[in-house]
Amino acid sequence: MKIHKLCSALAVLPLVVLTGCESTKVDYVDPAGRGLTTVGQINFHDYNEAGINLVQSLLASGRLDRADGTPFIIMLSRIENRTSQHVDTSLLTQNIRIALSQSGKAAFTTAVGAGGAEDAASMQVRQLRDSEEFAQDSIAGRGTMVAPDLSVSGRIIQLMTYVGNQRQAAYTFQLTLTDLRTGIAIWEGQEQIVKAGTRPRVSL
């Protein structure tokens, strides 16, 4: 009886091993393409498209044009996520930061942010002022950091609509550029991405 069980187990074992060896087809996807898309989620293409359109609108508005050509210093403020999914807002803001920095019209500070400094290093370095281990003239002096001129804040909003087994998701990306001296919004932009599809008839 025991031998019978052992034989059965041995017979099943190669099957398990072979299943593990079964190769799954994997392809590289063109990042400039649409990729896999679902109605209920924002994908990388949606972030790219919204980001590009918002930056283009901001650059074309002329709000970042200075007579002397010096770049505005911008701090990244809060990007509110009002969708039902976990959203890493840097997927939206990073493209915007890169494009604005490349334009030469703006530079972003990492020393100030909505939830504290994005990079604490600027302050940490200054805490070495009393350390005898560091040459004091190599440490940034007092009053050398530059305060931001403008801040970028925004929202990502999701609106779902269901009709029968049809569903539609509208994602709105809103950005506001505020002049920090006056508190006045000097530019506002909004991009909408709407996706529609059908709901599965049976869901587990």
């Binding site: 400039a32 590009i52 359109n53 650059l59 002329g62 493209n95 890169i98 490349q102």
Partner: protein
């Protein structure tokens, strides 16, 4: 008999004219693309369906190049054509300026409703551009 043959030849030539005219129209549509062919490339799959019209360039007050290209869709079926376009920017030495803005963007064209594809240069270094149009990829 000779007169009848002459009439027949005339009739044949008259019938042939519209056909020749049709060929001529296609050529004209292709010629619209030609002057900007160095700057504008259209995927062969949709080249015969797409009409590229006016190309307008200007600069913002901050010296960023702006372009606007009018495109139309000539086929009757299907009624809508999905396309993607991407603009590459070049500096005065003809070198490509790498930018996150140079990505494909989707547009839906409806028959008989020309649309303007607009783009702003990623930096003041941009003095020229090339526009690439292809069918919408899903």
């Amino acid at each position: 008999m000779q007169k009848q043959r002459f009439r027949f030849v005339c009739l044949f030539l008259v019938c042939l004219l519209p056909m020749l005219q049709a060929c001529q129209t296609t050529e004209v549509q292709q010629r619209i693309v030609a002057p900007e062919s160095m700057r504008i490339s259209v995927d062969p799959v949709i080249a015969s369906q797409l009409i590229v019209g006016e190309v307008n360039t200007s600069f913002t007050d901050g010296n960023l190049m702006l372009i606007q290209v009018t495109v139309g869709y000539s086929r009757s079926v299907p009624n809508i054509l999905g396309i993607e376009y991407r603009v590459e920017w070049f500096d005065e030495r003809g070198q490509v300026i790498p930018s996150v803005l140079s990505r494909y963007q989707a547009v839906q064209l409806q028959r008989g409703q020309p649309q303007n594809l607009r783009a702003v240069a990623p930096s003041e270094r941009a003095v020229d551009f090339s526009l690439h149009i292809r069918p919408l990829r899903r």
